[in-house]
Amino acid sequence: MKFSLVVVTSPEESRACHRALRFAAALNEAGHELQQVFFYANSASIGLSHHEHTDWQNIAQATQAELILCSASAEHFGLEIPIAGFSIAGLGAMVEAGLSADRVVTFG
């Protein structure tokens, strides 16, 4: 089954980002396809340098999933150049991923 994840809250606000990471790893272990993780609203702060990115980068490498920081949110946080393994795109990227996914799961 094809999955797409949307994370809404920042690591400081809730455990949602951590739960999304665990869920992504479980999907991979279960043989599902993870297409995209879209970091929306405050969760785009995951792209700031003080956060730990290794686990997400490992997930992206293992699953070939896109890790996308919402462009409007990234701008809000002053992120112009994405960190390795992440890209910056608009809400259209999230909608497109949802169209081809069997399930879209929100964490927030």
Binding site: V6, A41, A72, G90, G92, V95, T106, G108
Partner: protein, 96 residues
């Protein structure tokens, strides 16, 4: 507001979108909401949804009787069972 932006993006991509306001979120439709100049007015944004081809707006009936809604509002009031049916009928559900 993040949820409405996502809904409008999906609407702009030609998707069949329904918006459901649950719990105290229905108070966004109340008259006389004061919004700081730096923030967007959720009620007015909700009223603009038809421009994004989003015609289906639902409100949870739990608190709706306490809301003095803005004029010319076109919403459907539904009970928890109705919400369950609405969610079950959707291909994808995004919660904010």
């Amino acid at each position: 507001m993040a949820g409405l932006d996502a809904a409008m993006a999906a609407g702009a991509f030609g998707q069949d979108v329904s918006v459901l306001l649950r719990g105290t979120a229905v108070f966004e439709f109340a008259k006389g909401q004061c919004v700081p100049a730096t923030e967007r007015h959720v009620g007015k944004t909700l009223a603009s949804l038809p421009f994004y081809d989003i015609e289906s707006v639902y409100v949870d009936d739990t608190y709706w009787s306490q809301v003095n809604p803005i004029d010319d509002l076109d919403v459907t009031v539904i009970c928890p069972a109705g919400m369950g049916e609405l969610i079950a009928a959707a291909d994808h559900v995004l919660s904010f």
